[in-house]
Symmetry: C2
Subunit: 383 residues, 2 copies
């Protein structure tokens, strides 16, 4: 071959496309330019006038399906992409949705509308709400999780807290997400002691409380740590995909040798939502993307706590966790951060039953007796 | 044990601390509250009044080393953390630096000042500028890289472009970062064809042009793909740590069986810099963090191109790639995006010699003869 075809045909195109809803900020002309830019930047990354005619221009380049004003200097664009641009690989799908354009201000991903074939390419949450409830044997009230903290305690002290909380009837006792493999509470010792403590409490209560270790770890150790956790009797796993990469959660959820429910913690990627004209909507990040990764629970900061999420943003997260999405199971929205006895009634009114609450420091505040505190919290959310 | 110690001692504390420089936005009272909040949120994640006295309060909780106004509603805080909070694991180090507080607006990481022990725990860039130059046999001019595009071309067509560019004397020919494992140019076929094409050109020119495949892939396939690349004769690797997770790059760089120079592409994590009061400084994200990951080249959008980085921001990236940082080698700042023949003189004035330029679409614009275009670009940057 001595030259490039002028109209290269693209092999393997199915004709099926997926859609992404973006919000664009600026004047009408700017919004139009941004929409055009997204179509190129997220796919061919090539000057428009140099894109070869034929399949590449007609199918590979993103297409503006609609563009309309929804407020002053605020536009909604729906852009479609050929399935094959993202393929069945999650990192590349993320790249098409929000790769280079993440570096351009005034573009926010609002909602993913994936095609049937793409949805089928991902397993999604292995357990979802119902599967996790079945493991816990709790069907008719919100679930309640706490976190082992503060960092610096020994594995033995953390196991003591785990025991006390499990005795009080909490459903899940997770590692604080800052517990990794530090010298004061090394991973293996912590996991074995805490799993044993929770099992001991379960033997007394007859309940099925789960210990949930944090497997956020170096890339090559995540699955190994999950194996250690499973071996020790942990009932579920915690991971921070902002720290490990979104596809690490996907890999963990897909692993048949692990097969435990997974909670996803929002550490590190807050910048994806803090600026309202950039990044992702709460719905897409804490809802849809978590289900794509395969998380069974999406932890996020509750409204009214020490973070700035609004009630409406939290309600949109609930929708992102619950809304129909192909074969993907609904997962537990898991509001945490600043929960106290005082705001439980308000939370019940907003969240209803299909929720997993995370109470951390608040559990330690009520009294020195963690078991009594745990019982009290459970009673309040069940009543 | 029937209770927790009131002053728990923390095992394994060395007494050494590392520092993070944050910029805080708001009033003086707000800045002070944010600094206090960072100290707790990034470590014990526990209400201040409930933190146990002793080692946890004295060492595990972050400490405000300084807090000063540097502009209206703009403060600089230096906060130190015990080495052991972050440990020698990169995801947890990131978690301490910018975990939960990523979800709070008005906090930006400006600079990392890691302790000697922490720096020693990371290998950093395996090649750095000098090591990579030695492999290429080019010592005295900026390096020049291009990207194979547009997406949709077959492996055969991409290999043809690679051949033409290598013949023209380019130093590195990388996959466009959107080339993953799509049906139109499957990874293995593409890598074998492109590596072969570049080797063929090298045999003619006597140069050591490198083909650099994109190993951004599902978490469990990154190292495998890098092995395929090495086997095929690829000279270096491209990865997008925003898509794969920062620690995936670290793992790849540390892998003794791969041991190829790595370029890091900025896809997906632009939101970490687009809002000036959140996320990371350009210096920290595109400089320091890349070296911690082990990247030998940090790709970022050049000023004056189609992204909005300022010249000052780009110069700070150069500093982050070059500044002394323990044993870490200086790496190549790699400005790309919108480079053209026209702006080469300006880029030379700003960047000098210790830079790797990335020219994409611009290489295709000059004329239809890619080999001649490549030669012309090389001559211009070498003159």
């Amino acid at each position: 071959m001595t030259t490039l075809p002028s109209r290269p045909s693209v092999a393997g195109l199915s004709g099926e496309r997926f859609r992404v809803v973006y919000h664009l900020f600026g004047s009408e002309a700017e919004a139009h330019a941004k929409a055009m830019d997204i179509c190129l930047e997220q796919t061919v990354e090539f000057p428009a006038d140099l894109v070869p005619a034929g399949d590449i221009q007609d199918s590979i380049v993103g297409q503006i399906e609609s563009l309309q004003a929804i407020g002053p200097d605020h536009y909604e664009a729906i852009i479609s992409y050929a399935n094959e641009t993202g393929g069945s690989e999650f990192p590349q799908l993320l790249n098409v949705i929000f790769g280079n354009i993440s570096i351009k201000a005034g573009i926010r991903v609002i909602r993913l509308d994936l095609s049937p074939t793409l949805l089928e390419a991902y397993r999604g949450p292995r357990f979802g709400q119902q599967g996790w409830r079945d493991l816990l044997g709790v069907q008719d009230r919100p679930l309640l999780m706490t976190a082992l903290k503060p960092m610096g305690l020994s594995a033995k002290d953390l196991a003591y807290i785990a025991y006390e909380c499990a005795l009080g009837g909490l459903d899940i006792i997770k590692d604080d997400h800052g517990l990794a493999n530090q010298p004061f509470a090394p991973y293996q010792e912590r996991v074995e002691r805490c799993a044993e403590a929770v099992a001991k409490a379960n033997a007394q209560t007859g309940l099925k409380c789960q210990y949930m270790p944090n497997v956020t770890a170096p890339a090559d150790q995540i699955v190994t740590r999950a194996g250690v956790a499973k071996q020790a009797g942990a009932g579920s796993l915690l991971i921070c995909p902002g720290l490990t990469g979104f596809d690490s959660l996907r890999q963990l959820a897909d692993d048949e040798t692990i097969a435990l429910p997974i909670a996803s913690h929002p550490s590190f990627y807050g910048s994806l939502v803090t600026s309202p004209q950039n990044g992702f909507s709460h719905y897409a990040l804490y809802g849809q993307l978590q289900r794509l990764m395969g998380a069974d629970s999406s932890i996020y900061p509750n409204f009214g706590g020490r973070f700035a999420f609004s009630q409406a943003e939290c309600e949109s997260i609930v929708a992102g966790c619950h809304d129909p999405m192909g074969h993907f199971k609904p997962i537990f929205p898991t509001p945490g951060g600043g929960m106290s006895m005082a705001n439980i009634p308000q939370m019940k009114a907003v969240y209803g039953n299909q929720v997993m609450y995370l109470v951390g420091g608040g559990l330690h505040r009520h009294s020195d007796d963690l078991t009594a505190n745990a019982r009290h919290f459970i009673e309040m959310i069940a009543s």
